[in-house]
């Protein structure tokens, strides 16, 4: 691979890194005096647009042809000539995904950052770097690269969570997040080392090849490795029982960061989980499906049941996002080997992720707006929102409907695809638990609706949410409707994105 090719293929990541460094640099330049610092979020936003453009530019490279483009550099050292990452439809999907996540988070964080946060430039740069880590992890095909990019994402997330240095909850959340995350990733690393020992390689495809060709009873090693890897990825996705950090970290983190945490690391975790299980361990499908099925059931149920008790909306949405991850997991558990059916499970997972991206970020944008004006994210801060800002109330209503899964919202399409996959695979139990859970979820989402529409707020004046937030909420709401009403392109996108994985499976 020539250097030019290499740079072209890495264009999205390079652009993002560059913009993040520019933000850092400009922040330092503008530190003393002139008022150009308010431009920083817009520069960061331009970076996400650049990422989007770069991803679209190289789209034809990654999505054409049957095979993924791999990144191989340098000479071989007796088996080291393995690709670190690929440019395939799945990687491209997550570049697009990341660009949207970053854009929405940046758009909705402007006012919040001005009000609460001290070091602006570093904040925006950290968010961009976290996005970089997301795109890298979705493209990684090597255990070393996976570990590195996930750690990158984790470390930026810890720092962002603790960003409100003066706030008890923020620092406390960051400590818990750090301790939990560092432990989980150390466990995962141990699992990786066992996989390496069993196969002598770090490349996912080669691992699969060695394992299938192996005559020795590898399960003594693969099972512990699988379980330990699940710990690390389950932590990223916040699957029960590796979820307990999530409510505390979400509650403590600055709200824009919470919004990011509820989508970004989860998506990255799912990307890695899909790739790792399907590329490296397809032969052990029966084992990981049975574990994941159990995990999906407890994740949905626990997330929903505990959410019933929450009075802080950030915490409530934390449990809600745990439950949502449980629904998504159904897509991976119920993946159908035949590529000709309408839902292969995997495309359901991506559709769900995409729908969840807009829904959850939209909901958090509303929470940020409310928090900006009431200083609180408690349930009763939402009282009478309908009268105070009917735009936010109505869009929030839409987002909550989407989280429940009521048509015509994006969440419905997502649920249709994952539950449909479960029914198709005759996993009726999973589908039933999922449906019952989505009924339970009505209760706590309704708690927010009730506050917004019926809650009494005696001396709460109407307020304006500001242009950035308005755009973020509006775009999210529009997309939530779009995905449901004109689903075709989105479903095609999702199906195309998993086509290579599903085919290799």
């Amino acid at each position: 691979m020539t250097l030019t090719q290499f740079l072209v293929l890495l264009l999205p990541e390079l652009v993002l890194t560059l913009v993040a460094l520019v933000v850092l640099g400009l922040d330092m330049l503008w530190r003393n005096g002139n008022g150009s610092r308010h431009l920083l979020p817009w520069i960061a936003l331009a970076g996400t647009v650049a990422l989007l453009v770069a991803a679209v530019l190289i789209w034809p490279l990654g999505s054409t042809g049957g095979a993924a483009i791999t990144f191989t550099t340098g000479k071989d050292f007796g088996g080291d000539q393995t690709p670190m990452m690929v440019l395939d439809p799945l990687a491209l999907f997550f570049k697009l995904f990341t660009a949207i996540v970053l854009a929405l988070v940046l758009l909705s964080s402007g006012n919040y950052v001005r009000a609460h946060i001290r070091f602006h430039g570093e904040f925006y740069a950290l968010i961009l770097f976290a996005g970089l880590a997301m795109t890298l992890s979705a493209a990684a095909t090597n255990l070393l690269m996976i570990y590195l990019s996930l750690e990158f994402l984790s470390i930026t997330s810890y720092l962002l969570t603790g960003y409100l240095r003066e706030d008890e909850r923020s620092t406390e959340g960051a400590v818990k997040y750090f301790v939990y995350g560092a432990t989980a990733s150390a466990v995962m690393l141990y699992g990786f080392s066992l996989l390496y020992g069993a196969t002598g390689t770090l490349d996912l495809a080669s691992i699969a090849a060695v394992l299938t060709g192996s005559v020795i009873p590898v399960h003594w090693l693969v099972y512990p490795a699988l379980i330990m890897v699940l710990v690390g990825l389950g932590f990223k996705i916040a699957l029960v029982p590796f979820h307990q950090w999530a409510p505390d970290a979400y509650e403590g983190a600055p709200t824009p960061v919470t919004a990011f945490l509820s989508v970004g690391p989860k998506a990255a975790g799912f990307a890695v989980l899909m790739r790792l299980l399907l590329t490296a361990l397809p032969g052990f499908q029966l084992d990981w499906i049975s574990v994941l099925a159990g995990v999906a059931i407890v994740t949905m149920t626990l997330g929903n049941l505990v959410a019933l008790w929450q009075s802080n909306v950030k915490r409530l949405l934390a449990y809600s996002s745990i439950a949502q991850a449980g629904y998504m997991l159904i897509g991976l558990v119920a993946l159908a080997p035949e590529a000709h059916s309408w839902t292969t499970g995997l495309n359901g997972l991506l559709i769900y992720l995409f729908a969840y991206l807009f829904t959850n970020l939209g909901a958090f944008a509303v929470v940020i707006a409310v928090e900006n004006h009431t200083g609180s994210a408690q349930l009763d801060a939402f009282a009478g929102l309908m009268r105070r800002n009917s735009f936010l109330a109505i869009t929030m209503f839409l987002f909550l409907l989407s989280l429940i899964g009521i048509p015509p919202t994006a969440g419905f399409v997502g649920k249709l695809f994952v539950f449909g996959a479960a029914i198709q695979r005759q996993m009726i139990m999973l589908a039933v638990v999922g449906i019952v859970n989505s009924v339970i979820s009505v209760y706590y989402y309704y708690a927010i609706m009730r506050q917004m529409f019926f809650g009494e707020a005696p001396d709460a004046p109407p307020f304006d949410e500001g242009p950035g937030l308005r755009v973020a909420v509006g775009v999210a709401a529009l997309m939530v409707l779009m995905i449901a009403l004109y689903a075709e392109p989105f479903i095609r996108l999702a199906s195309d994105s998993v086509s290579l994985l599903a085919a290799s499976f």
Partner: protein
Amino acid sequence: MAIEQALQIFVFVILTLMTLGGGLAVVTSRNLFHAALSLILSLAGVVGYYVLLDAGFLAIVQLLIYIGAISILILFSIMLTRGLMTPRQVQRNEQWWIAALVVFLTFVVLIVALWQMVWPIADDEALRTPNVAISQLGEALVGPYAIPFEIISVLLLVALVGAIVLARETENNQGSHAEAGSSE
């Protein structure tokens, strides 16, 4: 040959005593400062392991980064956070005995699995000559491993920037930050 082997085993036992003994001291010592010093002992044992495993360069890296940088950083942090050099409080929580039980059982289960496994060990010829020149490692880092190498440099930068933002003294902030200061 036999003497060399016996010597190797002897060294291994010594290193193991250092590593595991140091490790146990790390997790049980009442004085956190002592625990951090034990960590250095344990890590030094690991350095010896690497030498024994013919990974000389890695031993140096371990010595420089782990012992030279990380452990020192930890020691500084301990000194920064008040009063922890005095063993005034119990250093283990109420769940320590459950933790010990669970961890011990996990260890046993893991060991059984590891011993059951038949390892795809390389042939004798390859085992005898694992000579890896430092130059080879260097080439590998900018060759096949160029991408992760670049990424980890970015990661280190990000970690440093973030660490400075979170840990720097509040009083030091420049004038332009004053207007952005939070109300708390």
